[in-house]
Amino acid sequence: MSIALIIEQLLNGLQLGVMLFLIAAGLTLIFGVMGLINLAHGSLYMIGAFACAAVAAATGSFWIGLVASLAAAAAAGALMEVAVIRRLYERDHLDQVLATFALILILSEGMRWLFGSFPLYLDIPPVLQGAVPLPGGGQYQLYRLAIIGVGIVVAVGLYLLISRTRLGMRIRAGESDREMIAALGVDIRTLYTVVFALGAALAGLAGALVGALQSVQVGMGEPALILAFVVIVIGGIGSIKGALVGAVLVGVVDTMGRFLLPKLLALALPASQANSVGAALASMLIYIVMALILAFRPRGLFAGQA
């Protein structure tokens, strides 16, 4: 096992983590601030991916597609908030679960209606194609490096927004007492729509970025959603820092687990068995990690102040 391989795998873990962070950031914001469980967050991710693929196909430019993905997801998010979500803040989590579950059905089937059942494809823009050499002799896909970069920029930006600006203060105040912040003269309703749209846009961005890597299809949101939930719960709901740490943790643990567990087991078991047992254990790994973390830190790694 070479150093280059290990570095490459770590980068893979990091890239997966950053991806998860982009989805999870919006989710944790919406969840932490509005106390809303939004199962349809994965659908926003899907919408971003579809918007990017469709616009990129029509204009021939990935970058225009990327802008479209942000716009489409933000618009869809705002629309969703105004039409449905807004009525749910006062309700308990279960109503939110059902309503946003219904939104998943509607949006997925709606997308299928619009775009058909076949996956769309989206190509990596020319400047980001190919691989770059790594120190230590390996190679790494340029596009994935770019994703890592985007994730870091977003993380820093969000952190500053939430902790340093008055908007962030108001968001956090709304998180603990919505009625009170309104009674102090802050238009919390609009603020919430903005936050929701922001979270949606991040999810849409993630969808577009991933779309170019994988494929754009109906149903791509749900697995991502579950992982994003794992991430924000590990990190501590509402915490941007937590989402970042949780995401990278999940990304690295998952990637390294899949990579190393079969090899470790091969020391004790026959090869084919080690492979399948290893693969099984590896898929369980992040859930085991999550259960362990919650068992010892019941409110996640960076539990909020409240």
Binding site: M1, S2, A4, L5, E8, Q9, N12, Q15, L16, R112, S117, F118, P119, L120, Y121, D123, I124, Q129, G130, A131, G138, Q139, Q141, L142, Y143, R144, V210, L213, Q214, S215, Q217, V218, G219, M220, P223, T255, R258, F259, P262, A271, S272, N275, S276, A279, A280, S283
Partner: protein
């Protein structure tokens, strides 16, 4: 009273492309035949076994179908087929071919019109011997995936640079690609149907690994190619069918399909088309109500297969040629072209275990 055929197939989710082709070819075949006595009851299984089971129950009990077909995935087939055939309903598989149903659990009401799961992979194992000494192999971690690698290894003589099982439905293969890069392999064999194959190929192409890839047609079939793009050009893959296969039935099929749907048919469409024609050929000879006669008629396989010569083995699985194809570009369209034959009149490895 029309003959009712229940079609359970995957019309939504990552595997939808496969089911849509299956359905479209089936519908078209019956339409072309102008047979007014056939009624199709089509339902989406969303690639979920338990849903497939419920649909099957409904088709048998409520729609009272005479025949069933349509299932793409082995795990769904394993859930539906045993109970269906036990209720004396004839089932014809247009795609899935799990080894269990070919061997010990074969059944007189079960006909596989497609292949036994191992077949295409065996062919690729055979073919790989020509050029490669050290292949890296990977497939999803489910029994059809295991059948696949078993099939490959049954014929491959070189060394394995690595053997990996991925998750079913996995969409990111960065970790696997890293291992391929580090393995010192001279080639990569992978079985990843539908969206999985698209994702793998796109990422592989960008990774800079650059080793030649090969696989069964599932990894490079017509539903996958447009999304993968030029990265697939020149890739070798194995199948019992290709659109350029030179026979009357195939020409007619490809033309009709393209005219009707504006796209090229995939292997799934071809197999499904054959299934429809097999049914039609049997209907011409016997009534579905007379099960014995109908089964006998099916068994004769007296239809013009788009795959050329086609007969049933004693376990009611195909004996057919398996070809090696290459991905080529015709105009802007990526498609496959036959470049050789891996096996002639190939059956499967489980037929001995079938007591029928």
């Amino acid at each position: 009273e029309p003959v009712k055929i229940g079609v359970i197939t995957t019309l939504s989710g990552g595997g939808a492309g496969l089911g849509v082709d299956t359905r479209d070819a089936l519908v078209l075949a019956f339409k072309k035949a102008g047979n007014k006595d056939v009624e199709l009851v089509i339902e989406d299984d969303a690639q979920k076994p338990e849903l497939a089971v419920q649909i099957a129950e409904k088709m048998i009990q409520s729609d009272k179908v005479d025949l069933m077909t349509g299932i793409i995935w082995s795990n769904l087939a394993m859930a539906v087929v045993p109970n269906t055939v036990a209720q004396d309903v004839i089932y014809l598989s247009p795609n899935a071919g799990p080894s269990a149903l070919a061997g010990a659990n074969c059944h007189k009401n079960y006909f596989n019109v497609a292949y036994q799961n191992d077949n295409f992979h065996e062919a690729m194992g055979q073919y790989a011997n020509q050029d490669y000494k050290k292949t890296f192999i990977l497939a999803p971690n489910y029994p059809a995936g295991k059948d696949s690698l078993t099939g490959f290894k049954r014929y491959y003589k070189g060394e394995l640079a690595g053997e990996l099982y991925t998750q079913v439905g996995q969409t990111d293969y960065a970790a696997e690609i890293a291992q391929i890069r580090a393995s010192g392999a001279d080639s990569v064999f992978f079985f990843l149907p539908g969206g999985m194959g698209i994702a793998f190929m796109k990422q592989y192409a960008q990774s800079g690994v650059g080793l030649p890839v090969l696989g069964p047609s599932f990894s490079f079939s017509q539903d996958v190619l447009p999304a993968v793009g030029d990265a697939a050009l020149g890739v070798k893959n194995s199948a019992s069918w290709s659109k350029d296969l030179d026979n009357e039935a195939n020409k007619e099929f490809v033309e009709a399909f393209q005219a009707e749907y504006g796209r090229l048919p995939s292997i799934y469409a071809a197999q499904s088309w054959d299934t429809a024609n097999l049914i039609l050929s049997a209907l011409a000879k016997a009534s579905v109500k007379d099960k014995d006669a109908f089964r006998a008629a099916l068994k004769e396989a007296d239809f013009k297969s788009v795959r050329g010569e086609f007969t049933f083995n004693t376990n009611q699985h195909p004996i057919q040629n398996i070809y090696v194809r290459e991905v080529v570009k015709e105009g802007d369209v990526l498609t496959n072209k036959i470049i050789g034959t891996a096996f002639e009149k190939h059956g499967d490895a489980y037929v001995e275990q079938c007591k029928m």
